[in-house]
Amino acid sequence: MIVEALLAVTLLSAFAVFLAPDKIAGKLAFVLSLLPAAGSIWMYSAFDGSGNALLAGGKLAFEETFKWVTFGPYALNWHVGLDGISMPLLVLTTVLTPLAILAAWTPIQSRQSQFFGLMLFMEMSLLGVFSALDFFIWFIFWEMVLVPMYFLIGIWGGPRRKYAAIKFFVYTNVASLLMFIGFIALVFGLGDSISSLDMPAIAQALNSGQLGSLGGIDAGTLKALAFFAMFIGFGVKVPIVPFHTWLPDAHVEAPTPVSIMLAGVMLKMGTYALLRFNFTMLPGVAKDYAFIIALVAVVSVIYGALLALAQSDLKRIVAYSSVSSMGYVILGLVAFNMYGVGGATFQMVAHGLISGLMFMAVGVIYNTTHTRMVSDMSGLADKMPITVAVFVAGAFGYMGLPLMAGFAAEFFIFVGAFHSTVLAGNALALFTGAAMFGIVIVAGYLLFAMQRTLFGPFRLETDYEVGRASFHDVAPLVVLILLVILLGVQPNIFYHMIQDAVGKMALLPGGGA
C-alpha cells in the first residue's frame, strides 16, 4: 500500500491546501509537499525491484493489484508498481514539486490556496502516471494532469494565458484520443489472449506474437497503425517537431512554477509513455521504422535549437531548447540498445532538473527586473551574483558539460546511437553527428544570451530596483544545481536501476546490447 499511501497523502494535502486561507497556503503547501518527497526518497532506498515492469521476469517494487471493474471479458484493475524506469521519475516529481512551490511564493499573489492546491493535485496525477500499470488507471491519471494544468496556465498565466491554456488543453486532448484508439485497437486485436487491460500482460502478449486481425485489418498493418497513432499521441506531449507548437505558447504564458513542472515533469510523460508503449510493446515496428523515428528525433534536436537561437525572450529560449533536448531522448530510444534507452531515461531525469533550474532562474530574474527580453538588460551578474552563478552553471549543464547530469545522459545516448544495430545502415553516423551538432547550437544561443544579459555594464530598460533575490527564491536554485552536479558525478544513483530495467527491453528488437 506504499504507492497508494503516497498518492493519498498528496491528494489529501491538495485538499487541505484548497481549504486553507490564502495567506498560509504557500507555506502549508511547501511543508506538505515535503511528505511525498521524503516518502519517495524512502521508497528509493527501499527499492527492491529488478527487471522491466512490463516484461516477463520483471520484479516490481511496491506492487499492488486489486479488482476494480469488469466489463464483459475484460477486467480493469488497480495495478501499480515501480521498476528502475519509473522510480527515478517518481523521485524527480516529488523533489521538483516542493522546489516549484517555493519558486511560486513570490510571483503568485492572488488566489494562492487554489494555486497551491492545484499544484499538489497535479503532483498526485503525475505520480499516478509513473506508477500505474493498468492501462485504464494509467489513462485516468494521464488525462487528469490536463485539468490542473489548464487552470494553472489559464488563471495565473501571462497576457495571452486564455489562448495558451485552451490551445494546450485541446491539442493534448486530441493527442490522447488518437493514442487511445490506437492502443485499444491493439487490445481487441489480441482477442482472447488477454483478459484485462494490464500493461504487462498486454506487452507480453504482443511480444509473443498473439496479435490477430481486427475489423479486416491484418496484424502487421494493425501494429504499424497503432504504433503511429500512439507515436503521434505521445509525441504531442514530448513534444516532437512538428507537434510542438503548443509548447512555446504554454511555456511563455505559464507562471514560472508551472513552467518548471511542465518542462521538468510533464514533458517526460510523453517520453515515458513512448518507452513503455511504443518501444516495449511494439519493438518490431520501432525497428522497421527506425529511420523515420531517428529523422524525427534529429529534426527535433536541430529545429528546436534553431528556433531557440531565433528568440529574444529568455523564457522562449529555454522553452524551445526543451524541444531540442527531448529530441535526444527519442534518439536514445530508437537506438534501442542498453546505452541508448538507458541514456534516454537518464536524460528524462537530467533534463527535468536542468530545465526546471533554467526556468526557475529566468523566473527569479523576471521577478526583479520585470522583463525577460534579452535586449532589455545587461550586467545582472553584479546585482544578483548567486542567481546568475546558478544560471550560468545550469546553462553549462544544458550544454552537456562533464560532471553535470546532462553530460552523463547525452554521453550514453550518443554511445548508444553509435553502437545501435537498429540504426545501423540507416546513415547512423550522419544522424548521430547531426544530433551532436545540436549541442553546438545550444552552446551558441545560451552563451550569446548569457553574455548579453548577465555580463557587461549594468543596464535595465524597465524601471525597477534590482536587488538580491530573496532566500526562498534562491534556495531552490541552489538545491537544483547541487542535484544536477550530484547526478553528474554519481550517475549510478539512478543509472544502475535504469540499466537493470532497460536491459531486457533493449534486446527486444533482436539486436545486441
Binding site: 469488469t70 489513462f139 488543453f169 485541446v170 486530441v174 484520443l177 487490445v187
Partner: protein
C-alpha cells in the same frame, strides 16, 4: 407454511409506485389547492422517485429480471436492461423534483407540474419494459404528452409557450410517422410483439420487403425524435432553451434515455439484422445518423452564445455518441457497444441533469444567459461552480468522474467491434466539445466578474440537487465496477 411468492406483476413495482405517486400528488393538490410554495409536493415527488429507484436497485441486486419476467401476454417484460433504465429515469426525476422546489417558488400550478413530471417518468419506465409495438407506442405517448405541457408550463413566458408548441407539433408529426411505421410492420408480419415479429421475419416476407423497409425506417424516425437525433432534432434546442431549466434537464437526460431504451430493445429484438439486413440495413442507417448527429450537435454547440442553448446542442451531440451503441452492432462486440451506450446514458443522466440544474440555479439568481454573464461567477458561488466544472469536464470526457469512463468504454467498444472510424469521428467531436465546455469553465473561474452583481441567497433544494448530482458523477468513477457489470449482462441478455 409455503413461502409467500410475489406475483409476477410485482416486478413492475417501480412503475406502479411512480403512477401512485402521481395520483397522490393530485390528492394533495385537492386538499391544499393553488399553493405557490409547497415542500410537500416536491417532497412526495422526490420520495416517490427515490422509492421507485430503490426498488429497481433492489431488484437488480437480488437478481430479479436475470430471467426476464414476461407480463400481460408478453406485452411487457422486466429484465436487467429495463431495471437499469428505471434507475436512470428515477434518479433524474428525483434530482429534478428537489431542484424544482426552489425554481418554481411563487409559480402557480405546482401540483400539476410535479404530477406531469412523475407521469412522464411512469411512461418512461413503461417504455423500457415494452415488448410490443403497441405498448411501445402507448407508453411513449404517456411520456411525451406530459413533456409537451411541461415545456410550456411557464404560461406567461413567451419563450416557454413557443417552445412547447414547437415541441408538440414536431412530436405529433413524429408520432404519426411512428404509428404509420408500426402499421406497416404489422402489415408485413401480422404481429406487434417484438419476438414474434422477428420469428415471422425469419420465415420470409416474400414481396413485402419494400413495405417492411419503409416501416422500419419510419419506426426509426420516431426514435430519432424522442432521442433528439438527426433528422428530428429541430425541436430540441428551442424546447430545451425555452423550457424551465429543470425540465430541460429532465427531457435531455431521462426522456432521451427512454427513447434509447426502446430503440435498443425494438431493433435488436424485432429486426434481427440477419433476417432483414438484405432488405433494410438499419445498422448502416444508424451509422449515418450517429456521425451526422454527433458532428452537427457538437459543431452547432461550439457556435452558441448562450450557455443553455450550448448545452441543448451538446445534448444532441451526446445522442450521437450513444447512437454508436446501435451503429457499431454486429461487428463482433455487440454486448460491449450496447452496454457502453447504456453506461453513457446512466452517467449522462447525472452530469447533464446536473449541468441543467446549475443553469436553473443561475436563472434563479437572475444572472444572464450568455457565456459573458457567467464571468467570475466562481468567486461568488464557488461550490456550485465547482459542481458545474465537474459536470462540464465529465461531459467533455476528462477523468474527474465517470463521464470519462463511459465515453472511453463506448469508443473503445466501437474500436473493438472494428468500427474504429466511428470512434475516430467521436474522438474528433469529443475534442471539439472540450473547447466549448471549457468556455463555461473559463468564464466562471478565469475571467474577471463584470458589474457589481451580488448573489442574495443560496436556495437549498437547487444546491442539494446540484451537489448530489456532482457527487454521484464523481463517485460513479469509483463504483463503476458493479454498474458496468450490470450493464454488460443486461446487454448480453438482449442478444441471448
Amino acid at each position: 407454511m409455503a413461502a409467500f411468492a410475489w406475483p409476477d406483476w410485482a416486478a413492475l413495482a417501480p412503475a406502479i409506485v411512480l403512477g401512485l405517486t402521481a395520483l397522490l400528488l393530485l390528492v394533495v393538490d385537492s386538499i391544499y389547492p393553488h399553493t405557490r410554495d409547497n415542500p410537500i409536493l416536491a417532497g412526495i415527488s422526490a420520495l416517490g422517485a427515490v422509492v421507485a429507484g430503490g426498488l429497481a436497485a433492489w431488484f437488480l441486486a437480488s437478481g430479479t429480471g436475470e430471467n426476464p419476467i414476461s407480463l400481460y401476454g408478453n406485452a411487457m417484460v422486466v429484465d436487467t436492461m429495463s431495471l437499469f433504465f428505471v434507475l436512470i429515469f428515477t434518479s433524474v426525476t428525483a434530482l429534478v423534483s428537489v431542484a424544482s422546489y426552489d425554481y418554481l417558488k411563487g409559480n402557480s400550478y405546482q401540483a400539476e407540474y410535479y404530477t406531469l413530471v412523475v407521469l412522464a417518468a411512469t411512461g418512461m419506465t413503461l417504455m423500457a419494459s415494452s415488448n410490443s409495438l403497441a405498448t411501445v407506442f402507448i407508453s411513449l405517448e404517456l411520456a411525451s404528452l406530459p413533456s409537451y405541457a411541461l415545456v410550456a408550463v411557464l404560461k406567461k413566458n413567451r419563450g416557454s409557450v413557443e417552445a412547447g408548441l414547437k415541441y408538440f407539433l414536431i412530436g405529433a408529426l413524429s408520432s404519426a410517422i411512428f404509428a404509420y411505421g408500426i402499421s406497416l410492420v404489422y402489415g408485413v408480419t401480422g404481429h406487434l410483439q417484438l419476438d414474434l415479429i422477428a420469428t415471422t421475419l425469419g420465415s420470409g416476407f416474400d414481396g413485402l420487403g419494400g413495405v417492411l423497409g419503409i416501416g422500419v425506417l419510419m419506426v426509426l424516425g420516431g426514435f430519432a425524435f424522442k432521442t433528439a437525433s438527426v433528422p428530428f432534432h429541430f425541436w430540441a434546442p428551442e424546447a430545451y432553451e425555452g423550457a424551465p431549466a429543470p425540465i430541460s434537464g429532465f427531457l435531455s437526460s431521462a426522456s432521451k434515455a427512454a427513447g434509447f431504451a426502446v430503440a435498443f430493445r425494438v431493433f435488436v429484438t424485432a429486426f434481427p439484422i440477419g433476417e432483414v439486413g438484405s432488405t433494410i440495413d438499419w445498422v448502416l442507417a444508424f451509422q449515418i445518423l450517429a456521425i451526422v448527429t454527433m458532428t452537427l450537435g457538437n459543431f452547432a454547440a461550439a457556435t452558441q452564445d448562450k450557455v443553455k442553448r450550448m448545452l441543448a446542442y451538446s445534448s444532441i451531440g451526446h445522442a450521437g455518441y450513444v447512437l454508436i451503441g446501435l451503429a457499431a452492432l454486429y461487428g463482433g462486440n455487440n454486448s460491449g457497444v450496447l452496454s457502453g451506450a447504456m453506461l453513457h446514458l446512466l452517467v449522462y443522466g447525472f452530469m447533464n441533469t446536473g449541468a441543467f440544474l446549475f443553469i436553473a440555479l443561475v436563472e434563479y439568481w437572475g444572472v444572464g444567459r450568455t457565456f459573458e454573464d457567467y464571468n467570475g461567477l466562481a468567486e461568488k458561488a464557488p461550490i456550485a461552480c465547482l459542481a458545474m466544472t465537474v459536470f462540464l469536464f465529465n461531459l467533455a470526457g476528462l477523468p474527474v468522474g465517470a463521464g470519462f469512463m463511459s465515453k472511453y468504454i463506448l469508443f473503445g467498444a466501437a474500436v473493438g467491434a472494428g468500427f474504429w472510424w466511428l470512434a475516430a469521428v467521436g474522438a474528433i467531436n469529443s475534442a471539439l466539445s472540450l473547447f466549448y465546455y471549457s468556455r463555461v469553465v473559463k468564464a466562471m473561474w478565469i475571467e474577471d466578474p463584470e458589474g457589481d452583481f451580488t448573489i442574495r441567497s443560496t436556495p437549498t433544494g437547487l444546491y442539494v440537487a446540484v451537489v448530489a448530482a456532482a457527487v454521484v458523477t464523481v463517485a460513479l468513477l469509483f463504483a463503476f465496477g458493479p454498474v458496468a457489470d450490470t450493464a454488460y449482462n443486461a446487454a448480453a441478455a438482449l442478444f441471448a
